[in-house]
Symmetry: D2
């Protein structure tokens, strides 16, 4: 589905290195499990420190891993001089985020020079199988020549 | 701006008690600072454990406090039998979330029997003053008679 | 992708009859081209009466056919007593809506008793082939027992 | 609330001239009623040609006037070389769009060099008074040096 081509052959290293600097992913216990052109996947085990009042994953946690997956999916198709920042996103919570483990899948829908549109989904691994519990649609931006913004 | 009236005189206790059960707010270091009819505010000090790769607050953290502020703003106007869950939200990130301290403000725009529309903003306390760094628009749902969902 | 099953064997007639009452679709020149369980498609020929200032289809026209496609996709899976209304949607405009003809595809992602989440895309038929120029993510609601709301 | 300053003293003429080229606004019967720095208002009388199946204004019509109001609010703060295009928006439909006349208010929340964030609301003039029936949150983009895109 991704419209856009790899411009930096080093994209995987770059995504992994930038992800490692996201201290919040470590705070959540999230890890990168796939870095491909236009697609990134992040795994998150359930943890009782990440819940809302009904013991499901907090919607902000759901959003966090979807946002990183979408942002890094966008970065895989950016040129070496660009850093990535989130412009906006929208999340629909389809079902309570219950499960032992979650995988956030972020995919590029269209990559432009400045803006990249992405879609994401959060899959919950439950006893009965895998269920999509949330979907994201959002916009990522390539930042160039701004102090402190590199990836 | 809130359309809707208080139906549960005990709303403040109920919001505070439910917030205390959101372990993720404790993980973030977020605290409730205002519970009023149709409006809730949550404070969050900056913490290096919550950042993305450029050392700003991760967009997922921004979303987390906005979602809790909007969700609990909705709960202040719900009847005593309802629990609250997020249906969907949209966040625009207006500027990097830099600052020493942040305040998420959630407000009810329209409260219906089942769905409540909310808007939120995240204010960053910076050396030069207060800046709105993100805005949210979303939908909260009143859940009744479902096991495990009470507030 | 649709989670949900047909509850009304008469769903196609019901969608076609309701669509025929949407005078705005006639004003746009839009027609139903597919009504299947969890998926509806609407075709729209280009017309110079529907443009914005750069002679592309206005974003509101793009949204109109996507909203009707998603709303009726949701209705295909609702019970006979429900009418459908749009709660909210989000549209990303990926490229200028240029083309001779457009097809809006609406699909159910998850159908619940009250709320149905949908995704849509607008395909533009251009000289070089078909291009997705916009995507939608939104929420539709089943309305029961409210005067004037039937489908 | 608008962050951003007027860069083109001729902004009102520019908005009015561009609006006049939006043939779709004429098709709807919509007219510009206010062009101020960071804020634009568009009026729309009810018309039976613009309805959905329950005789309310179609959500796509609601979106159309909100999108033009937000886009032109953004244009009031852009430099003379920029054209404006919609990147994305999100609309919550708070109540059925019933009324004799509607006013879409679009406001700039933050104006950047490339992206401008806006919020909008649609007010319905009903017998009992004015009611906000929909809200929008979206992103507009300044386009420079692209053939065919001027405002």
């Amino acid at each position: 589905m991704a419209r856009g081509a790899v411009q930096d052959p080093n994209f995987e290293f770059r995504v992994r290195e930038s992800f490692a600097r996201q201290t919040f992913m470590e705070t959540l216990g999230a890890t990168l499990v796939l870095v491909a052109p236009g697609e990134v996947r992040i795994a998150l085990p359930f943890n009782a420190r990440l819940t809302q009042q009904h013991d499901f994953l907090h919607a902000g946690v759901v959003t966090s891993v979807l946002d990183s997956a979408c942002g890094y999916a966008a970065l895989t198709l950016m040129d070496p001089n660009a850093g990535v920042m989130s412009v906006e996103f929208k999340v629909n919570l389809l079902a309570p985020a219950a499960g032992n483990r979650f995988v956030a899948v972020g995919r590029v829908v269209r990559a432009g020079r400045t803006l990249t549109a992405c879609q994401g989904e959060l899959r919950a691994v439950q006893d009965e199988g895998e269920v999509v519990v949330a979907i994201m649609q959002g916009t990522m931006m390539a930042i160039r020549d701004r102090a402190g913004i590199t990836d």
